[in-house]
């Protein structure tokens, strides 16, 4: 391992790490908001769910590299624009999260729904303060999977020139030079682990009742 590489490229490595984080987290946040909106509509209008599910499964089967390459042609962006990666990963994350949001919103039992309605909740308020909180454990489970998947997929973006830590790896391959490859690899794995720990911590803090329910 050539530590000299690390020393002389600290700025580059840090900027790629930040870029990697940015490219993987922004799609998660956008997808989460969209998934909640689409999921709530799918629960309210059950007939809309099968086509939504079919569409999201279809998107998920498109290889990421193909999507990165096709997107500029479809939405008219520059081939090297980071927006391509962000949009592609948003689509993947959304495909994953919509299912979890819908399943989560369906966790609320008929008794709980009926009592919320009967106590005078409006529909919107019931969604926000009853059904969505109860859906949290499943939504968080989806967030963990989507986040880790994104962190690994961002590296593929390096093949079209926008790939965060993946660019260090392609650099290593092209120059047949181990150091940048190892740095990219280790940091992306570390990033995935840290992101997962952060999400789990957040989940425990936000849904203390879910853990207690399991013990009881």
């Amino acid at each position: 391992m050539d530590w000299g590489y690390v020393e002389s490229n600290v700025d580059l490595i840090v900027s790629k790490l930040v870029e990697h984080l940015y490219l993987s987290i922004v799609p998660i946040l956008v997808a989460l908001v969209l998934a909640i909106v689409i999921g709530a509509l799918a629960v309210r209008f059950p007939k809309s769910y099968p086509p939504i599910l079919a569409l999201s499964s279809a998107f998920y089967t498109v290889p990421s590299l193909a999507l990165f390459v096709i997107l500029p042609g479809i939405i008219g962006t520059q081939i090297l624009d980071p927006v391509n990666v962000i949009i592609a990963l948003t689509i993947y994350s959304l495909s994953l999260l919509v299912r979890n949001v819908v399943d989560g919103l369906r966790v609320t039992s008929a008794d709980v729904r009926q009592s919320a309605l009967s106590m005078g909740y409006t529909r919107t308020r019931q969604l926000w303060s009853v059904e969505l909180p109860i859906a949290m454990p499943l939504i968080f489970a989806g967030l963990r999977v989507a986040t880790v998947a994104n962190i690994s997929m961002v590296s593929v973006g390096a093949l079209i020139g926008v790939g965060g830590l993946g660019e260090l790896m392609t650099d290593g391959f092209q120059r047949n030079y181990l150091a940048p490859l190892l740095v990219g690899l280790v940091l992306s794995v570390a990033l995935a682990l840290v992101a997962d720990v952060v999400i789990v911590t957040l989940q425990r803090w936000l849904t203390p009742w879910a853990r207690l329910a399991r013990q009881a």
Binding site: Q114, S115, S118, G120, M136
Partner: protein
């Protein structure tokens, strides 16, 4: 007061769930809707708070047609308790109870203090305030459900099989406490159950419904037991309705008579002398409380451990059913009558109770037939 005026409910698929229902649930009374599944009792209940719309006819709450009210506001004025309690799993007990105050925009402090007060009222230990529903027993959850319905002090309560998901012992306890609570609060309550015993125990008036959503009979429990209006009602009430009807006949007037007794510690001779030929003698403690029956063939002095169980005692304020129960459970066939403080008054045997019954049959009582 809740009035049903020719109310019908037909679902989109054509099913007639409720068919021309007219009745009045009186102020401060418990009106029970009872019937087999599919008789429209829950549908009728849910039409009151407009969680199910009526197809035809009208429902008036305190004279106001509910169709003209804002549904959300209406619901916040009517307490609601459901089977399995329907508690919010993500909220603590105290926050669950404070749900409606929270919706009405009360300040947090006031909602909390009301919630804690209600926990005490329904018999929940305050240490449970911070627990989540999943950490409670079924009975405790149901108490939280009742407290939650009472939180904003609504004049009316709708209760949909609130006690049917708990075991029989807890159910009976919840029913007794519910009656005690209602005695203090005097709410106007509509209560749905499939259990006729529960209906008879809790209802001031009982509406028996049958499949197809028609009202078979609307009457007081005593009237229902003594004069079922149709074969359906008679069959639904069950075989021992005659016996259960005794619950509504006072034990007052029974020919309770003296009986010789012995104190705890009496000798064998005392027992034999007091018995005067009978096989058993009643033993009283120093406060005149019955402790058991002493068999006359005893070879030792009367000690409490050697006695036969006294069975269930009854007071004159209780029903004939309590007296008959006491006689049937007693080893001597004699029911022991006590006063309000549990002191011995006299005995009456089952032959005497039967004799009394032939002259004091449950009459067509105060309940009036309707529907």
């Amino acid at each position: 007061m809740i009035e049903f005026d020719h109310v019908s409910k037909q679902y989109d698929d054509g099913t007639l769930a409720v068919d021309d229902l007219s009745l009045v649930a009186g102020n401060g009374q418990i009106t029970v809707f009872v019937g087999p599944s599919g008789c429209g009792k829950t549908t009728s209940l849910r039409m009151i708070n407009r969680t199910i719309p009526v197809t035809s006819g009208s429902i008036r709450v305190d004279g106001e047609d509910i169709a003209a009210t804002d549904a959300v506001q209406l619901r916040r004025r009517i307490g609601y308790v459901i089977q399995h309690a329907g508690l919010f799993p993500h909220r603590t007990v105290v926050d669950n109870i404070a749900t409606v105050p929270h919706l009405l925009g009360w300040d947090k402090k006031r909602s909390r203090s009301v919630a804690l007060e209600l926990m005490d009222r329904v018999g929940l230990d305050p240490v449970l305030a911070k627990r989540y529903p999943a950490q409670l027993s079924g009975g405790q959850q149901q108490r939280v459900g009742v407290a939650r319905a009472l939180a904003a002090d609504p004049p009316m309560l709708l209760m949909d099989e609130p006690f049917s998901a708990v075991d029989p012992i807890v159910r009976e306890q919840l029913q007794d406490e519910f009656l005690r609570l209602q005695h203090e609060l005097g709410k106007t309550i509509v209560f749905v159950t499939h259990d006729i015993d529960e209906a008879i125990k809790l209802g001031d008036k009982v509406a028996v419904m049958q499949v197809g959503g028609t009202l078979a009979q609307f009457a007081s429990p005593a009237e229902l037991l003594s004069h079922p209006s149709s074969d359906f009602v008679a069959e639904f009430i069950g075989r021992d309705r005659g016996y259960r009807g005794l619950s509504f006949v006072s034990a007052e007037g029974l020919p309770v008579h003296e009986s010789s007794t012995v104190p705890v510690g009496a000798s064998e001779d005392d027992v034999r002398r007091a018995a005067g030929g009978a096989a058993h003698v009643l033993v009283l403690d120093t406060d005149q409380h019955p402790v058991g029956w002493a068999p006359v063939n005893g070879r030792t002095a009367v000690v409490p451990e050697r006695l036969l169980d006294v069975g269930t005692t009854f007071t004159a304020e209780q029903s004939l059913r309590a007296a008959l129960d006491g006689a049937l459970a007693s080893p001597t066939g004699e029911a022991v009558c006590v006063d309000a403080d549990g002191r011995f008054v006299g005995v009456v045997n089952h032959a005497e109770i039967a004799e009394h019954l032939t002259t004091h049959r449950p009459r067509r009582a105060e309940g009036q037939a309707a529907g």
